[in-house]
């Protein structure tokens, strides 16, 4: 399992967030659901930029520093200031934003846990290990 595992986490979180947002709209309010979705979107964008920066900078191949700088510039000032403005505006409930932001973590944990329980190779280390043993 390579970098597509991150893409799958992002996709699963987005789909699950849409389903949860429907329930929130039904049982709480549209504002709570929107806050939740904004929290999820922020979190997914953040993970996407982390993925980009890690794959561009921490690699055995040649690094593309210009791409990494652009990603870093978008992530740190733009994304973080955007997050600050969303929190500081006070329009959305802080708890809905935090719930949305946190959604990706249980999903990532459950996906990894599912692979461990099903005895699937989580990050592709076991196969390598077994090959090395023989």
């Amino acid at each position: 399992m390579g970098l597509e595992f991150i893409t799958r986490i992002i996709r699963t979180t987005a789909v699950f967030a849409l389903i949860v947002a429907l329930y929130l709209t039904m049982y709480y309010s549209g504002k709570v659901a929107l806050g939740f979705l904004i929290g999820v979107a922020w979190s997914l964008t953040n993970l996407y930029f982390i993925k980009g920066m890690v794959t561009e900078l921490i690699t055995p191949n040649e690094t593309r520093k210009d791409v990494a700088v652009v990603l870093g510039f978008i992530k740190f000032p733009v994304l973080y200031v955007g997050g600050y403005l969303i929190v500081a505006s006070g329009y959305f409930s802080i708890y809905s934003l935090l719930a949305g932001f946190s959604l990706i973590f249980p999903i990532a944990l459950l996906k990894v846990l599912g692979r461990v329980i099903l005895r699937m190779d989580v990050f592709g280390f076991e196969k390598k290990h077994a090959e090395g043993a023989h």
Binding site: F5, I6, L47, I58, I94, S102, A108, F123, G124
Partner: protein
């Protein structure tokens, strides 16, 4: 000492500690990942996945501290 004074004193310290912990954790994670990739370049993609998930988790803790900071700042008035 009223609670507002206590909050004003402890909030910057708390956010500073959170930033130090997060920076230390991320620094260690990146350092170890670089070392691991240097030792096994063919395992780079797998190390990157673990690194990305780990970074997201470490960063989230600081963001929680930051949000708690903003919430409590509102209570100082």
């Amino acid at each position: 000492m009223d609670y507002k004074f206590a909050l004003a004193l402890s909030l910057p310290l708390a956010i500073g500690l959170a930033a130090i912990g997060s920076g230390f954790g991320l620094g260690r994670a990146v350092g170890q990942a670089m070392e691991a990739i240097g030792r096994q370049p063919e395992a780079a993609a797998k190390i990157q996945v673990a690194m990305i998930i780990g970074s997201a988790f470490i960063e989230a803790l600081t963001i929680y501290a930051l949000v708690a900071f903003f919430i409590l700042m509102g209570k100082i008035g």
